[in-house]
Subunit: 124 residues, 2 copies
Amino acid sequence: MTIDFDKSGGLVPAIAQDADTGAVLMLAWMNREAYEETVRTGRAVYFSRSRNRLWRKGEESGHVQEVREIYLDCDADTILLKVHQIGGAACHEGYQSCFFRRVEGDKLRVVGERLFDPKQVYKK
Amino acid sequence: MTIDFDKSGGLVPAIAQDADTGAVLMLAWMNREAYEETVRTGRAVYFSRSRNRLWRKGEESGHVQEVREIYLDCDADTILLKVHQIGGAACHEGYQSCFFRRVEGDKLRVVGERLFDPKQVYKK
């Protein structure tokens, strides 16, 4: 079983989908190390491009993602995780899904429900 | 409404999700031109990295994707399309979803149902 990490410079996109509702929660990136730790621990670990390091999802907020199933696409260069999102919100802005804005003409309309206030969760 | 096409060298990932079932069908890439044509025509247009040109999904197979809704993520660098997949199969290998293989230990198990034989659809 070979994931093609080389195609995009060591990182492949990983989609997190809610295992129960089917909602697409977020897209992040994985390098080989992140993938292997995800498999080993059963919790989603990504690679943060902005921080240039492993990102154990929920390491700060406690909102970890328990991985139920892992799928690989036909080209072996995209990963799909079916997860249980602890806390209900995958997005750092407090929404269930990072895709909480719908394109309507030239505008974006917020359609997601905010589950928490980021200021209360990320104490910076 | 600004999508950050510059962050990844002009291309952002676009997830296609079945609007009715919620199944994640595929992930492909869009540049600005692909996105604008998608919005204008209501059919998914991607940018093929391997062919280095616009890829009007279904242009060869007829299996176009009618776009019902478009969502943008919190960082404005990933697109989620809710689509109606003509022909039922998004994957060029004949499966509903490109994510037809589940990781089981060190192996991949095919869990999707094949809806068509690629040889019959892509006459090469």
